[in-house]
């Protein structure tokens, strides 16, 4: 190992963490060339491919690597939170027709096709312009871009670095939710911890909000696949002598490293465009189902964060500010108050950090803290993290009516995949309250609000 490892956790979370192989993966990442300071894991860590999910690692730009496994197959899987002017009391009587409208209007599940059927040249524009392109087509407002990480488009994206296969997979998936752990959820603000920040974020107790969690769909997966294969065949990789094939990497400064970075940025832009279209469709569903005007609904984007990405950022290393490449795989950026990359509206309080939990128990909104910049390269957790395998979750669900249990807990659900509900049951995930408490106590991000689900659609 070139650097030590650091796990953010409490003693209860550590018991689960020690059960799977993620600790070994944190150690494996520490072998990568050019890694700086430490290989880290957030409290929602569990094992993934090469890097653990919940892993954070930063690298020197000249001597360090970029690794597709450190970003993940679902490039820019991320989440956005939309606020409304509505309260739970106003929406609850209409929750079922609202849920039906969302389920009808938002393509969900395996094989779903998007609202937009794009030509190859249009896909290329989405890859280079991200959210801005779909907003120009009428899917949202320019103001939405101000509250999206990177303004909804990373600089340096080059569509030509994507394979024809990746582009082909992107032709009809813009505006699709996908399946598995992706979802759209209606929540209410259950509790406010930081009233001043909540006011700046536009949150209030009892407020109805909407979570959207999805990524770059088949296009992103193909990009990861294509570049993993190229890196595995490179002579440079053979010299790195890495402990795990899935850590296949290239020097960030090499031609291959730069090509992957620009393709990754393009796929990230696709994901932002995807979430932008879904948000627009959700706005229309709310208007239609509730019979309310946009002015009355005031559905505004609080913020959109990526949690599978690699970014070039400025951080303090060995006492001096320098540009480094930060990999966040199942981890969220958490910049504090005053940081120039925090949108002006939030700069006084810190970047919103959106943390989806599970569909039964709750989710959080946090704000980035200075501790993230000194301890974790500006990073926080991304969610609750799985603790049960899909097989174990299905076994635990046997004989139970999960739909009924969720309904009794006040959560309505619509889904397409038969086994999805069991696989995604609340008990399959770590306790998000505990995960967030670790992040809060470690000074990475502070609690602003807790949200409770009212209804969810899943693929």
């Amino acid at each position: 190992m070139r650097v030590p490892g650091l796990i953010f956790a409490d003693h209860v979370l550590m018991k689960d963490i020690e059960q799977d192989q993620c600790l070994k993966q944190v150690a494996n990442v520490a072998h990568l060339p050019g890694i700086l300071v430490r290989s880290m894991a957030m409290p929602d860590v569990h094992w993934g491919y090469g890097f653990p999910i919940g892993g954070v690692a930063a690298f020197d730009l000249e001597e360090g690597v970029i690794s597709p496994g450190g970003v993940g197959y679902d490039i820019n899987c991320g989440v956005r939170l939309v606020t409304t002017a509505l309260t739970q009391d106003e929406v609850q009587p209409s929750i079922r027709p609202l849920l039906e409208a969302l389920y009808r209007d938002i393509p969900t599940g395996v094989g779903a096709h998007g609202a937009l059927k794009l030509s190859r040249s249009e896909v290329r524009r989405v890859l280079e312009q991200g959210s801005a392109w779909v907003v120009k087509q009428g899917f949202g407002e320019p103001a939405d871009l101000e509250h999206t990480e990177e303004g909804g488009a990373m600089a340096g994206a080059e569509a030509e670095n994507l394979s024809e296969r990746a582009v082909a997979r992107g032709l009809d998936q813009v505006g699709t939710l996908g399946s598995g752990n992706h979802f759209l959820e209606i929540d209410r603000v259950e509790r406010i911890y930081d009233a001043k920040t909540a006011e700046v974020f536009g949150l209030f107790e009892g407020q109805v909000t909407v979570f959207i969690h999805c990524g770059s769909r088949g296009l992103g997966h193909q990009v990861c696949d294509d570049f993993l294969k190229m890196m595995m065949r490179s002579k440079e990789l053979a010299q790195m002598n890495l402990p795990d094939r899935q850590l296949a990497s290239a020097l960030f400064s090499s031609t291959l490293g730069q090509r992957y970075f620009s393709a990754m940025a393009a796929a990230a832009n696709y994901a932002w465009a995807n979430r932008q279209v879904i948000m627009h469709l959700a706005r229309e569903s709310f208007q239609q189902a509730l019979g309310l005007s946009p002015a009355r609904l005031r559905m505004n984007l609080l913020y959109d964060v990526a949690h599978n990405i690699a970014k070039v950022e400025t951080h303090l290393v060995d006492g001096r500010q320098r540009r480094v490449l930060v990999h966040r795989k199942g981890a969220t950026r958490a910049f504090p108050a005053g940081h120039p990359d925090v949108p002006p509206a939030y700069r006084a309080v810190g970047q919103p950090v959106i943390i989806p939990g599970d569909m039964g128990r709750g989710s959080y909104v946090l704000a980035g803290e200075p501790g993230a910049m000194t301890e974790s390269f500006g990073s926080s957790c991304h969610g609750a993290g799985r603790v049960l395998s899909r097989k174990a979750a299905k076994a635990k669900a046997r004989g139970r009516s999960l739909i009924e249990e969720l309904s009794q807990a006040g959560v309505e659900i619509r889904f397409t995949g038969r086994s999805t509900v069991a696989e995604e049951m609340p008990e399959a995930y770590k306790d998000v309250d505990r995960v967030v408490e670790v992040v809060h106590q470690a000074g990475l991000a502070r609690k602003v609000a807790r949200l409770k689900p009212m209804a969810v659609i899943k693929g």
């Binding site: 999910i53 395996v110 296969r165 595995m232 065949r233 049960l388 395998s389 899909r390």
Partner: protein, 138 residues
């Protein structure tokens, strides 16, 4: 001989593939991939196509074989109905695959497999036969 056994994995889906020889392992993998992704499939006839792939080793070749079949399904909407492997070495496969169009109105999609990963990929002798391990990103 059983063709496969599912492996417990926290986030995704793993599988052990079995065969009396490496060819059978590749065929088991192809069969399992489509069993996981679709319920009910056209029985044929479909269209035959040649497929040849090169890999670094057996593990890489298997991941590529399954990845290619996954791409055919996800991007082209075609399912594998039959496969014949004409030549298989440690680093090359030459096969013919029969493909039929997947009709989502008639057949149900099951799990969305997003990628075939290299994570814990393994291909070795096992008892009197062979066994491989592959983890799918779902």
């Amino acid at each position: 001989m059983r063709r496969y056994r599912m492996i417990d994995h926290t986030a995704d889906m793993g599988v052990y593939l079995y065969g009396r020889d490496p060819k059978e392992v590749f065929l088991s993998g192809a069969a399992v991939l489509f069993e996981l992704m679709v319920e009910g499939r056209p029985k044929g006839p479909g269209r035959w196509a040649a497929l040849a792939l090169d890999g670094l080793d057996r593990e890489d070749l298997l991941v590529q074989w399954l990845g290619e079949l996954l791409y055919i399904f996800s991007a082209r909407g075609q399912v594998l109905t039959h496969a014949r492997i004409h030549r298989l070495t440690r680093t090359r496969i030459e096969a013919e695959i029969e493909l039929a169009d997947f009709d989502p109105e008639r057949y149900e999609r099951r799990t969305e497999i997003k990628a075939v990963t290299y994570h814990q990929a393994e291909f070795k002798r096992h008892g009197a036969g062979w066994r491989a391990r592959v983890i799918f990103d779902v």
